[in-house]
C-alpha cells in the first residue's frame, strides 16, 4: 500500500498509509501527519488520490508546499518524490504513476454503422440525462467548472498565466504563439497543447517537452498539476475551479 513518511534530520518520524481518505499535513495535532514546526501552517497541505493519481494540494499555507524543491499549488506525486513543509520533508512511496500516452493501437473492429440520426433538442436532453444516470463518473463532471490554466513557474514568457481557450495552444517564440517565449534562440514553435474530448494533450513542436521530468514519447495527456519543461521554461498545468 502506498504511504507517506515524515522525515526529520534523516530519521523517520511517522508513517501513514494512503487510503481513500485524504492525508492532512499541518502543525495542528488533528492532522494525520502533524508537523511540529512554526514554519508550518495549522492546516498546511493534503495528499489524496484523484482516480489513479496521487495529488498534493497546498491549503493556502503561509510558507508554501514544495515538491522536489519546487513550490506548488497542486501537483501530481510520483514514487520517490519528496514534499517539503518547513524543515521537514515527506517521502512519497507509491508504486505506479506515469503520464498516460495516447493510445497508438489499431482501431478495434468497427461496430456496425447504422443510419445516421439526429436527436432534436428535447430527445437529446432526455438521452443525455439517461446516460448520465447510468454513468458512475458523472460526479466529476457535474457542478464545478474547471478552467484549464498554464502557470509559468520559471523562464521568460510574455505573460505569467494563460487560460487555454482554443482547440490548439502553441508554445514558442512566434508572434502567433499563445504562450509566447521571449529571449534569444527560442524555437518558433516549441510545443503545442491540444484539447480533445477527454482532456488536454501536449505534443512536440520543434522541441520535445518534458512532463514531470520525463521526455514525452508522443502526444501525452496532461493531468492536473503536471509540470512541463520546454526550452528552459517551466510550466504548471492546472485546472482552476
Amino acid at each position: 500500500m502506498p504511504k507517506l513518511s515524515l522525515m526529520f534530520e534523516g530519521k523517520t518520524v511517522k508513517e501513514v498509509p494512503i487510503g481513500n481518505r485524504p492525508i492532512t499535513i499541518g502543525r495542528s495535532p488533528d492532522n494525520d501527519l502533524p508537523v511540529d514546526n512554526l514554519a508550518v501552517s495549522n492546516h498546511h497541505a493534503r495528499v489524496y488520490y484523484e482516480g489513479a493519481r496521487l495529488v498534493v494540494e497546498d491549503l493556502d499555507s503561509l510558507n508554501g508546499t514544495f515538491v522536489n524543491d519546487l513550490r506548488v499549488e497542486r501537483a501530481t506525486l510520483h514514487d520517490g518524490d519528496s514534499i517539503h513543509v518547513g524543515k521537514h520533508y515527506i517521502k512519497v512511496d507509491a508504486s505506479h504513476d506515469a503520464p498516460v500516452p495516447y493510445d497508438m493501437g489499431r482501431k478495434a473492429a468497427a461496430p456496425a454503422i447504422n443510419e445516421t440520426m439526429v436527436l432534436d433538442t428535447k430527445a437529446r436532453r432526455e438521452m443525455l440525462q439517461q446516460a448520465a444516470a447510468m454513468g458512475e463518473r458523472t460526479q466529476f463532471a457535474s457542478g464545478r467548472i474547471k478552467v484549464p490554466t498554464i502557470l509559468v513557474l520559471s523562464g521568460k514568457t510574455a505573460n505569467k498565466e494563460y487560460i487555454l481557450t482554443n482547440k490548439l495552444t502553441t508554445i514558442g517564440k512566434s508572434a502567433m504563439a499563445t504562450v509566447r517565449l521571449t529571449g534569444w534562440f527560442k524555437p518558433q514553435m516549441a510545443a503545442q497543447i491540444s484539447q480533445r474530448d477527454d482532456g488536454y494533450y501536449i505534443g512536440p513542436g520543434d522541441k520535445t517537452p518534458m512532463v514531470n521530468g520525463t521526455p514525452i514519447p508522443g502526444p501525452t495527456r496532461l493531468n492536473d498539476g503536471d509540470l512541463i519543461d520546454v526550452c528552459g521554461v517551466r510550466l504548471n498545468f492546472i485546472f482552476r475551479e
Partner: protein, 279 residues
C-alpha cells in the same frame, strides 16, 4: 504561403450510394465537406445543397464585402470567420426550407465542415461529426468537436474515448444542418505555420482508420491528391462501412530563391470538385 490541395470521395464497401459531397475552391483557398443523411437519395440532396450554399455565399462575399451576414456570428471573430459561419447558417436554412417545401425530403440533413485560409489565418466553421485536423510536427490534432452523442458523453466524463469508439451509438448526432430552423455553428481560428497540413474528412474515414495511421499516411505521401486517395484506399481495406471523403491541404513556404521573380503570382490553380456519385 503557397498552398496545394487535393480531395477525393468514395462510396465505400457497404453502401450503395454516396451521400458525401466536397468542393475545393482553390482561387479562394476555401475547402468545404459535407456528409448527408436521409432516406432515398435525400442525403445527397442535403449535402450537395450545403456545399453549394457555403461556396456561393463565400464567393459572393469575396466580390461584395457588404453582403449580408446571417445567424449573428460572434463579435470577436475575424471577418473571414464570420462570413464562413454565416455561410453554414444559411446552408442550414436552405436545407430546412427545401425539406419543408418537399415533404418527401422530410428528415434529410447534413454535416458540414469548412476551412478558409487567408495568408496564415485559418477559419473553420463546423456542424456535425465530419472533422478538421491539423498535422503539425508529426502531431495530428482535431480542430473540431464532434456533435455526436458519444463525443458529448466523453466531454462530460460519462464514458471514455475508448468506450466511445466501441459504442453502437456513434451515428447519433446532436447537431446537424437541416433538422431545425436555425443552428448553432462552431467556429475556430488558428494561425498557420509553413509546412502545416490540413485535413477535412467525413466519419467514413475516422471510423475506419486510426489517427496514427492517418498521420503516417499524410507524412509519407506529400502530394495532396495522392494522399487523399491513399486514405480512402486504407478506409476501404479496413471495411469501408460508410462513404469516405477526404480533403488534404498542404502549406508550403514561398520559395525564396533568385528565380522567384520569373514566376510572379505563383502557380495557376484549376478548380476541382467532387460530388456524390448517386444513381
Amino acid at each position: 504561403m503557397q498552398i496545394a490541395s487535393g480531395g477525393a470521395t468514395d462510396v465505400g464497401r457497404v453502401r450503395s450510394n454516396n451521400e458525401d459531397c466536397f468542393r475545393l475552391v482553390e482561387p479562394l483557398n476555401l475547402y468545404v465537406l459535407s456528409d448527408g443523411m436521409g432516406g432515398e437519395a435525400h442525403g445527397e440532396i442535403a449535402s450537395a445543397l450545403a456545399v453549394e450554399t457555403v461556396v456561393k455565399h463565400c464567393m459572393d462575399a469575396d466580390i461584395n464585402h457588404a453582403a449580408p451576414l446571417y445567424g449573428n456570428p460572434p463579435a470577436g471573430l475575424t471577418e473571414q470567420t464570420k462570413r464562413l459561419v454565416s455561410a453554414v447558417y444559411l446552408a442550414n436554412r436552405n436545407i430546412f426550407k427545401s425539406a419543408e417545401t418537399n415533404p418527401e425530403q422530410s428528415g434529410m440533413g447534413a454535416t458540414l465542415t469548412a476551412m478558409w485560409v487567408n495568408g496564415n489565418a485559418l477559419s473553420i466553421a463546423h456542424v456535425g461529426d465530419s472533422r478538421a485536423y491539423l498535422l503539425r510536427n508529426g502531431m495530428l490534432q482535431q480542430l473540431t468537436s464532434d456533435h455526436s452523442l458519444v463525443a458529448e458523453q466523453v466531454r462530460r466524463g460519462i464514458i471514455s474515448a475508448n468506450e466511445a469508439e466501441q459504442s453502437d451509438m456513434q451515428s447519433v448526432l446532436l447537431r446537424a444542418l437541416g433538422t431545425q430552423e436555425s443552428v448553432e455553428v462552431d467556429s475556430e481560428e488558428q494561425a498557420l505555420f509553413p509546412r502545416d497540413l490540413l485535413l477535412l474528412c467525413s466519419d467514413g474515414l475516422t471510423r475506419m482508420v486510426t489517427e496514427p495511421e492517418i498521420a503516417g499516411t499524410l507524412q509519407a505521401e506529400t502530394d495532396p491528391q495522392k494522399a487523399s486517395e491513399r486514405l480512402i484506399a486504407i478506409a476501404n481495406e479496413n471495411g469501408g462501412a460508410d462513404n469516405i471523403s477526404v480533403i488534404v491541404v498542404r502549406l508550403e513556404s514561398e520559395p525564396k530563391n533568385w528565380l522567384s521573380w520569373l514566376f510572379p503570382g505563383g502557380r495557376k490553380h484549376a478548380s476541382k470538385n467532387g460530388s456524390a456519385g448517386g444513381h
